[in-house]
Amino acid sequence: MKKLFFLFILAVPFKTFAASCCGGGFSVPALILGDDKAQLTSTYSYANVSDDVLSDGRWLKRDDKNLTQTLKLEGALLLSESLQGGFGLPVLSKTAESTPASQGIGDIALYLGHETFPETSYSRWKPKGVTFIQINLPTSPSIYDFSAGNSNESRGKGFYSVGAGVALTKSWVTWDANFSAEIHRSFARAVNNEALGGTIELLPGWGSSQTVGLGWNYKDLRLGGSVVYFYEDAIESRGGTSSDGAMQRNFTASLSASYMLGQESALTASYSDQALLGDPTNSSLSKTINVSYQKRWPR
């Protein structure tokens, strides 16, 4: 039971964060990592942008009460013995001082996962893991689409993205560890917008993220911590107006507490901070509180 507990709740910290406005936000999906046929994860997030880091590394304090509340529903279903499919559907509410609030859906993500590294026999070190491919659909307005003077209307990345990655977990008696890595590619698009000086072509590039996490378990309680590194290539623009852009980089430190509610569900609360670690660049840094509930259906 303890082993299952480890594997189920490890799915929750596999999140990556990026600048809320400008092309970040690719996240590792909530994969089925245990012996389940389906799972549903609902996460409420309350994020406050505390700082902006410029492309030259200098920091600016943000004091406009820039808040994003997100309710994200993630579902996963086994399609065969080792193949799974899933989705992520976020609904966002954004507010900031002197800016009208905005609500609506964010970018929808679809994925396929494969249990590439099953745990077929005991090993002290060999992890079990799932590889996955994911597509992010620009189903919500982005910073390139809005026409009013309202950044809150920007709820999405603005690009189609395809990514692939791996999520590995390993548990010992009271400890567990997890690692995930993904790489993604966003695709160019043309935008015709008066605010952009006419038609321009936006040229995003590659991005990646890596997560390392550790957990300590006592009965039905798990206390965990994780660090996420996020990188996104510069977004070039050519046409009506041109610029080379600058790469984005940030680090997210998280602490979490999870509690197993019976055999088939878990409740997790976590705190994430992007202003604690590393040398972020060209990013808006947030402090986020997450509360997540996960329901699973065993095979």
Partner: protein, 142 residues
Amino acid sequence: MKTFAALLLIFLSLACARPNYISAEDLNPQKKPEETQNTAPEFPILKIRVSLKWSQPPTSQGAQDFILDFDGNVAEFETLAVLLWMPSMGHGSAPVKIERLSDYQYHVKNVYFIMPGDWEIRLLLKKDKKPIDQLYIPLMIP
């Protein structure tokens, strides 16, 4: 495992962020009540100078406006376009409204800097609907 956790904690403590906040001096130009551009930059081709005066120090909150004063042979262009651009992130902002006060003076309104950071005010001079010269004025928005 405990050793690993201890090593991880040491690593994290060494990896702490060291924020390098922009000094008050760097933000000083925006704190001056009236004029934020003491020198009048020049369009490279037409050699027309332009000075920019804010009605209030620009910030990332709410609508701003400024006056552009041109000095030179303004008959060489017909229309002015103004674009707000954040080059590091590759995005702009909402369209501004431009009111022509005279041949030499324009009032630019509905200026929204939608987030703090490095912005550019991109001025484009057009003739026969074609761009003939442009000037980028960089500024830091708190």
